[in-house]
Symmetry: C2
Subunit: 413 residues, 2 copies
């Protein structure tokens, strides 16, 4: 018997009939218990982060709030707005924090995300993906009927006509923006005349209201080095700016010209006409974004703080040079760079195995772990990681302050 | 207006107040509607697979049943049993199909999966991971109290003592197996004397019942080429077999010697003493397993059929040589080999972008896609893909026969 960790024991009565065994020095709460503690929107139990069952997705509130404030201050100073992307956090509570800080609304990638956000109190939603099937067009029109602040993207004349027909059939007018391809050929219409003609068509269709355009240059976001990133971003957006000016000269509504992201939030305002940035990852940060370098340091992108971590527990410590944890690919994804063990040096983490993570020690690790020890991982790529969890724990000074529902988790349709 | 796809329109009254626009040639149902149609366990609406909102996770029932039957027949003929791994499907309905076909029970990787399985009618569960924290040990003991068929793994004397204390405190006897390391040093205790001594300790502890051992050799499962895989598997398991014999000679219970998986299901019975295989992926198959080659073909592992697919819709077709779909990393993961477009040639698929998938055409594609077209993807790696979805559609002859809940989705804790 390990007498160190179990100096004495006590037996507590559980919620059911059975007695609960709890070593006096260790408490712990399941995700179901945590949800129950927060059922009324206040934490009815003082719980330390280390008492959470693992793997657990945690967000540090001080860092999150700092990120939201820093972003908003910067874009305001640069004369543009924030329209943060809900695909990153999928969490209406965080969307509300962003709006409270001054964001003009949020973006979503999928209609399911938009529904979840609206059902949880978010009223200004720009959906950046085109709805092409009858099912999705109907979902979008039903949402627009209830939510006057819902705007959707379109990228072809055929799709714009379908949207107008559907809106007309439902007796509404639907707000749309033209999605312009930044050159990646993934989504969006070709800038210049094709985009202008689509905007003109939208302006003429009976049940659509043109609100402007968007151009999301995903390819620029992770370009390493601030100057290289700035050069590429501003070049990539030249065609979009020209399109914006064509639309303006044609007398079309250009009140929205949305683009950019976390990697370019302090670059995008250099694009003439751009009104707002669709920043997503800045709230959480991740190993991928830390790697790209910033204006003040070429080594690390330090504009925002890594607020999102995965708490994991060591399951096996009996082999030299390594330890095994309970957070593998189903808790971390297999995105790379791999998760970073927070506040430690001399060790690395891999989450390539579905159920287990692996810690490997270098020659001089800052510490080693025993079975049952918990550690914090800075996530590899925040968006798909969040999409694995139903809830996240909002932490301040290592206490759980709230349990936030990730209401749009899995809403890929 | 595109007069080809919308030859006439009709307007249907929706469930709410609003009229629903539906082109006569196209119907479609959301996941919420599909759940409602199947609320009583029978499909109350005839729905074609192509009418599902996308991305949608689909399982072909003919292929699934064929896989379950083939596996069971083979292991029975080889004198061992099947104990399929629930971490793959996380779906109690499939677990029940496996048990109905003759499996002696199922495995789970996490206590949350075991809970979800038991709450949905599965009584024989072997948890292959060690529970090390007080929270998880309590969860395991509570489950064991209700579920006499629950067996858990342990891999250290310290952990075995904690389990015994917890079981004793709750007035129960807990069933355990020794997890033996196959050499990967990920989990499990060292074979030979350390494993034997742990088994003897378990046998002596007051509130534990030794049921045998497990040794899962994950590293052998994806070795390419049947002969190479066979050689490695049987070599890797020699130390486990020796441990099994030590336990037998010491008069310990060895009724369970569980190991193996989909890649070695027809090899493992060559290991002396092995009682059952913890096969997971065989029910669904995936691009990773197709790649390893089988006994009858070195090119493709054709023992089981790919039954699991992701239905996706084309969102953009306006750029040469490619098309963009609605199934990216959040619907497919970024596991490789990439998903395979079913029944087509001359094209490839990548799901590296969070929200979008990319089809690229070679010189002679078997077809090209238009916006709104749907296509089927054989998944890259079935386990983490299933973990993204709340439900899967059970399909026969392209009609939806059932909507299955993935009850243990996200149960990584």
């Amino acid at each position: 018997m390990n007498t160190k960790s179990i100096s004495r024991r006590r037996f507590l009565q559980g919620t059911g009939a059975a007695a609960i065994w709890v070593p006096s020095t260790m408490h712990g709460y399941t995700s179901a218990e945590m949800q129950a503690f927060y059922a009324n929107g206040v934490m009815e139990q003082d719980v330390a982060k280390s008492e959470l069952d693992t793997p657990a997705l945690c967000v540090d509130l001080d860092l999150l709030e700092s990120n939201i404030g820093k972003l908003q201050q910067t874009v305001t100073a640069n004369g543009i707005a924030a329209r943060p992307h809900g695909k990153t956090h999928k969490c209406p509570t965080i969307a509300q924090l962003q709006i409270d800080a001054g964001a003009v609304g949020i973006c979503t990638a999928k209609i399911g995300e938009a529904d979840a956000m609206f059902q949880n109190g978010i009223d200004d939603i720009l959906m950046t993906t085109t709805n092409v099937t009858p099912t999705k067009i109907n979902r979008a029109m039903k949402l627009r009927e209830q939510c006057p602040g819902f705007i959707q993207a379109t990228d072809s004349p055929q799709n714009a006509r379908l949207l107008s027909e559907a809106a007309q059939a439902m007796g509404i007018t639907a707000d749309v923006v033209v999605d312009v391809d930044p050159g990646g050929h993934r989504t969006g219409i070709t800038p210049g005349q094709p985009a202008l003609q689509l905007a003109q068509l939208i302006d003429q269709l009976p049940a659509l209201r043109l609100r402007g355009m968007l151009c999301y240059d995903g390819g620029s976001q992770h370009v390493k080095g601030f100057e290289a990133r700035k050069l590429r971003t501003l070049e990539s957006l030249v065609a979009a700016t020209n399109t914006y000016e064509l639309m303006q000269r044609a007398g079309l509504n250009t009140e929205i010209f949305s683009g950019g992201g976390t990697g370019t939030y302090n670059i995008d305002h250099g694009t003439r006409g751009l009104t707002d940035v669709q920043v997503g990852s800045y709230v959480f940060m991740d190993a991928q974004y830390l790697d790209i370098g910033g204006e003040t340091s070429s080594d690390v992108y330090a504009d925002f703080q890594p607020s999102l971590t995965i708490l994991t527990t060591v399951l096996n410590d009996q082999y030299a040079g390594r330890a095994t944890t309970d957070a593998g690919a189903k808790a971390c994804t297999i995105n790379q760079p791999w998760p970073i063990i927070k506040n430690e040096t001399g060790m690395s983490y891999t989450s390539g195995s579905d159920e287990f993570g692996t810690i490997r020690y270098d020659d001089e690790p800052s510490r080693t772990y025993k079975v049952g020890d918990k550690l914090d991982l800075i996530v590899s790529h925040c968006d798909p990681v969040v999409n694995l969890y139903n809830q996240m724990y909002a932490i301040r000074n290592n206490r759980v302050e709230a349990v936030w529902q990730i209401s749009a988790r899995g809403m890929s349709a």
